[in-house]
């Protein structure tokens, strides 16, 4: 557990990855029409804000950004004591008929995203849902994949991926700790 942490993305890498994702979102959706970003708290919400800012820098338009808390829709609620709820803020323009890009920091089992899709189903009916993540570490347990990935990070299940971002952790970095996978990266 106490094995050394390896930094795999530094602050510059994260900025470049987010700026690339911003371009990819615009390319795939042919501009900003009907786009809405929904971040999954807490880090996904901050990353969504940064993506919106990057998109604004490119296109000169600030697209609506919100947050969506998935706690009440999780399938593993009973595995630990009840968790505090995090804010859900849906942009006033709503999500009906919009192209929603869900944003999270790490894509792992896919269960958080499933819960987010359920939570979103309560709030409206987007015309399309896409998924952007800073890190995809594999080990999916559900048929879910990301449309935009900052970095694919092959990991073993024993490893721990830690995403730090300035807004919550004071610094931008992605690191891995624990026993590495047999083949290495």
């Amino acid at each position: 557990m106490d094995a050394a942490q390896r930094e795999v993305l530094d602050s510059g890498d994260i900025n470049r990855a987010l700026s690339r994702i911003a371009h990819e979102i615009l390319e795939k959706n042919k501009g900003v029409r009907d786009l809405v970003l929904l971040g999954i708290p807490t880090r996904g919400a901050h990353i969504a804000q940064r993506l919106a800012k990057a998109i604004a820098d490119i296109e000169g338009v600030m697209i609506p950004v919100g947050t969506i808390d998935v706690t009440l829709h999780r399938d593993d609620l009973r595995s630990r004591p009840a968790r505090a709820l995090l804010p859900t803020v849906i942009p006033t323009s709503g999500i009906d008929g919009k192209k929603v890009v869900l944003v999270d920091d790490v894509l792992f089992s896919g269960r958080t995203i499933r819960a987010a899709l359920d939570a979103m189903g309560e709030l409206g009916r987007p015309s399309q849902v896409q998924l952007a993540v800073l890190v995809d570490r594999g080990h999916r347990e559900l048929p879910i994949r990301a449309d935009y990935v900052g970095k694919n990070l092959p990991t073993s299940l024993k490893e721990h991926v830690r995403v730090s971002i300035t807004e919550t952790d004071g610094t931008d970095s992605v690191s891995i700790s624990g026993t590495p996978a047999g083949g290495g990266e």
Partner: protein, 316 residues
């Protein structure tokens, strides 16, 4: 959080703020497009009511249903209680049916505690009013309402000046409120005729006054209590009129409040006795809002007690 909610004093500062914050998030969802959440699917909540209730029972039922729990309503009238069944046997029956939470109201002080401590029931026990003792969920919804109006829905109630007026002696609402508000840092003053102050009230974490008019101008939240005639036998004050003149909130007293102050009442109201119709329906009144907030707060209580693993399941 403890497994049961029996007394407002069970709640630490962190627990109390967590419940209020959770209720705030749930209120945002329920006021919006989301009417039902899947969180408590498959859990059974029993409303065990030995005493009459409108707001509390309906509110707990609505809260449980919005979280997708199954609700069983039990009222003493029309049940085997009228044939003489004891609390223990009723509790064992509910346990056999697999109740995950029992919300209990009883005319005997300590009934909820008895139920929780006896081991008759494996689930959580939530006190929805026991005699003249406590009513913690009411105190939480009152604190939630105050926080919305006076503290922008954030943090605690540090420094908020709350005045609770009336039949403190028989009021479980007053006792729970004093305990919870002290935890949250509010400054509480109790106002009542000397005959309606409980024994030992000087030990409570609050101020005491017998002069409503002196306290009114500095009050930020004014809570009027129901005069509980059914527990009194006409023995505590000379006449309704005299009580009303000394301790009732009439239109003139309501105008002595600061413009930002709010007027609260846990219901049911005796209009014309402890509160005039003008004050009850006036601009400062948040009485109807208290009822709406009750659902959000009770959703938060149910979610935090039942939504996660129980302490035994986590086996810390």
């Amino acid at each position: 959080m403890k497994r049961h909610l029996l007394s407002a004093s069970d709640l630490s500062y962190e627990d109390a703020v967590l419940i209020l914050d959770t209720a705030e998030e749930l209120a945002k969802l329920v006021d919006g497009p989301v009417k039902k959440l899947p969180t408590l699917r498959g859990r059974t909540v029993v409303n065990l009511f030995y005493e009459d209730s409108t707001r509390t029972r309906i509110s707990f039922e609505a809260a449980a249903k919005r979280l997708s729990a199954d609700v069983i309503n039990f009222t003493a009238k029309g049940s085997s209680v009228s044939k003489g069944e004891s609390l223990k046997d009723t509790a064992l029956t509910l346990q056999a049916m697999g109740a995950d939470a029992v919300i209990v109201r009883h005319s005997a002080s300590g009934a909820a505690h008895q139920l929780a401590a006896s081991g008759w029931i494996a689930g959580s026990v939530i006190n929805a009013g026991d005699g003249t003792h406590e009513h913690p969920s009411q105190a939480l919804l009152d604190a939630f309402t105050m926080r919305r109006h006076l503290r922008d829905s954030k943090g605690d109630l540090a420094g908020v000046r709350v005045t609770i007026v009336g039949d403190v002696l028989h009021s479980r609402v007053a006792r729970s409120n004093v305990l919870l508000l002290a935890t949250l840092g509010a400054e509480v003053t109790l106002v009542a005729p000397p005959t309606l102050m409980p024994f030992g009230v000087e030990q409570w974490p609050c101020e005491i006054s017998y002069d409503l008019d002196r306290v009114l101008p500095r009050t930020e939240a004014l809570m009027m209590l129901r005069v509980q005639g059914e527990r009194m036998n006409n023995a505590f004050f000379p006449s309704m009129r005299e009580y009303s003149r000394g301790y009732g909130l009439d239109d003139k007293r309501a105008s002595a409040l600061s413009p930002e102050a709010i007027v609260m009442h846990p219901g049911p109201m005796n209009r014309g006795l402890e509160i005039s119709a003008g004050a009850a329906d006036g601009l400062r009144s948040v009485i109807v809002e208290q009822v709406a907030n009750g659902v959000s707060v009770r959703m938060a209580i149910l979610y935090l007690l039942l939504g996660g693993a129980s302490i035994e399941e986590v086996s810390l």
